[in-house]
Amino acid sequence: MADEILQWSLIATAVMMTIAIVIVTFCLLRGPTLPDRVVALDLIGTLTAGAIGVYAISQNEPVYILVSVMLAVVLFVGTVAFAYYVQRGLER
């Protein structure tokens, strides 16, 4: 009984995460300015970290949590680097 609830909620969570990532990918393509795309890419990375956590639960494999850790670390550096180059571009 409880296992069935977990299975169904895993499916529902995966579907909702996928819909969220598809919507944000549409926002990434739509723009309209460069910082909008940076924010969308940041949100895609964050949602991917969450989706990997859900996958770790569904596969019963705790190693995948490490992927989320690394993704969160790399994401912050990427966003700050984008912001740095946006700001440096206007000084030229």
Binding site: T46, G50, V86
Partner: protein, 139 residues
């Protein structure tokens, strides 16, 4: 019983993520979109990581999940602030119904104090990067 708790936490996380994506789609300008994306994305991942640490009940997994949550809670506001500041001075178009622009008032007050830099009230050059300090800001 544990499974039900894991399900509820995971569904909370998914709902927050979906709300963040919908906010990203519907909000009118960059700053409001940034608000929707940062808050709900961080909270969604936080709930999913909480569900993972409840599900595995292992000290290493709990430590890694809390590491993800702590790192996201520390860095998401910083990243949002940095990208919002860079975008404000780019400049990006703001929402037409925006009532109060505190940063513009502050920059105007600074320009009144130092009248030699009369161009500072225009969004487009951040304060501190104009004039003589341009070479210093490049670092």
């Amino acid at each position: 019983m544990i499974q039900i708790l894991v399900s509820v936490l995971m569904l909370f996380g998914a709902v927050f993520s979906l709300l963040g994506a919908v906010g990203m789609l519907r909000m009118p300008d960059l700053l409001t979109r940034l608000q929707a994306a940062t808050m709900t994305g961080t909270l969604g991942v936080g709930f999913v990581m909480l569900a993972a640490s409840v599900h595995f009940q292992d000290l290493g997994v709990v430590a890694k999940s809390l590491l993800v949550v702590a790192f996201l809670f520390l860095t998401a506001p910083i990243a949002a602030h940095v990208i919002a500041r860079a975008a404000y001075f780019l400049p990006v178009p703001l929402w037409k119904h925006m009532a109060l622009d505190d940063l513009k008032q502050a920059i105007d007050a600074q320009a009144v104090d130092a009248p030699s830099d009369a161009t500072k009230s225009e969004r487009g050059t951040p304060p501190g990067t104009t004039g003589t300090s341009a070479g210093q800001a490049r670092r």
